[in-house]
Amino acid sequence: MSGALLSLRGVETRIGRYHILHGVEFDVAEGGLTMLLGRNGAGKTTTLRTIMGLWRAAAGEIRFDGRDITHLATPDIARLGIAYVPESMAIFADLTVQENLILAARSGPPDKQRLDWIFARFEALKRFWNLPAGLLSGGQKQMLAVARAIIEPRRLLLVDEPTKGLAPAIIANMIDAFRELKGGEASLLVVEQNFAFARQLGDSVAVMDDGKVAHRGDMTAFAADSALQQHLLGLGMDTHQ
């Protein structure tokens, strides 16, 4: 597939004795936003972690920008321009908001304009600039986690459940931010449970089930096909009848 920034082919991951991914295959297009959907335990988080090098792929190939990154160490993968927002947010609670962002900006002090752009969307970060991040609320931590990933331009963002525990108004800001990022400087791969959010943002979609990608395609088509959604996303009311 041409124009794919990230592509996974036959990726298998084992954690300890458990075989979690069984040959995952999908692409993230340059400048696009791919939604990774699927029910609990389908392997979405494991997929993100495997791309990031936090779990080792036991088989298969992960290519980023034409380069095989399957066996690179996590820091080297990050340095190619991939940022990761884990589901747990992994905020450094003991560090202030400012310090969290200073660390995330690898190439020097954070850019002023970019900071203002972030503050405009996540106002709380400005307000609690010098507060230890551990004292932020769940939603504010989520903002910080996303801000940390976009404090400098990155080529690919891996985001795990950005809307978990967020109030609707902030979700709207999050949607804004991701819209502006995609197509411009970054491509995104977002794991999401909230389908309303997913359909508003996603260009394409990959749905996982039992450690495999069960469906790949265009978001518009997927959003229109409610039978497919129900079959894949876990309610399955009309199956097995």
């Binding site: 990031m52 936090l54 160490a73 996590t74 820091p75 990050a78 340095r79 940022a83 990761y84 884990p86 747990s88 992994a90 450094f92 609670a93 003991d94 560090l95 310090e99 969290n100 200073i102 660390l103 995330a104 690898r106 507060l131 230890p132 551990g134 004292l135 940390r148």
Partner: protein, 324 residues
Amino acid sequence: MKRDWIPWLLIPVLAIAALPLIGSPASWVTLTVAGLAMGLMIFVMASGLTLTFGLMDVLNFGHGAFIAVGAFVAASVMLAMAPWMTADSIWLNLAAIVPAVLAAMVVSGVLGLGFERVIVRPVYGQHLKQILVTTGGLIVAEQLLKVIWGPDQITLSRPTALRGAFLLGDVAIEKYRVLAVVVGLAVFAALALTLNRTRLGLLIRAGVENGEMVEALGYRIRRLFVGVFVVGSALAGLGGAMWGLYQETVTAAIGAQVAVLVFIVIIIGGLGSVGGCFVGALLVGLTANYIGFLAPKVALGSNILLMALVLLWRPQGLYPVAKR
């Protein structure tokens, strides 16, 4: 967030509480300075250990080996420069001490690098094996010290300028203790500044909390860890050199002996916290000196008692580290 200052308050509270028990203000000042000096020397040795634990969940039971090596290397250099040590010039004295201490730090640091590779690296994440293998490392290191320096203890005398005491009225303060306090505070200040004001320090603090995320931000935590391990070993060497001069004798067992105090201090402080380690070290130093004066027979039990009291109050130590 409100800073938790209560543990810091324990230090003056302890000192003031000891005053009426000791009675004589002159003795009290002497003991307090002695306690601070002892505490700060232990802090210098313990700071690296607590950080390596925080960063990689590695506890090195062989840490004492670096302390002992530092003491031996410094002793060798100083003995070789004996004429300058005994000269009646503070500058010549310093010209002997400074290279001795630097040599101690370099050798301990290099040894730390080797120790990390051979002993610690293969057993990451396996606590039981880690305890066993680092203890094994201590056994071997202690024997090697005897191979190199011989089995007998080395007697070491302090340089002329650091003998004796300052007299302020009827209060006597040993000069060497003042130096130990100054060096200890300098190390603490340097560590505190590094941790709070530099990018490297931010990385270390972040790594103690969540090493995986630090990696995902593009930093190599392994390198950071090895760096901290080496610096911690070098500091242990520095502390060993200071302790050797303090005791004026050096034996191969010095490491294992002091390591016990070091462990008590980092437990009290909360494993992984430099601030807690500092407070813990001063509490241990002061308690040991006060009790040593008031009831010499139970002096060493006093550290255990202190540890028990602190853990009853805060079971995870004074400043527990927030983990993931």
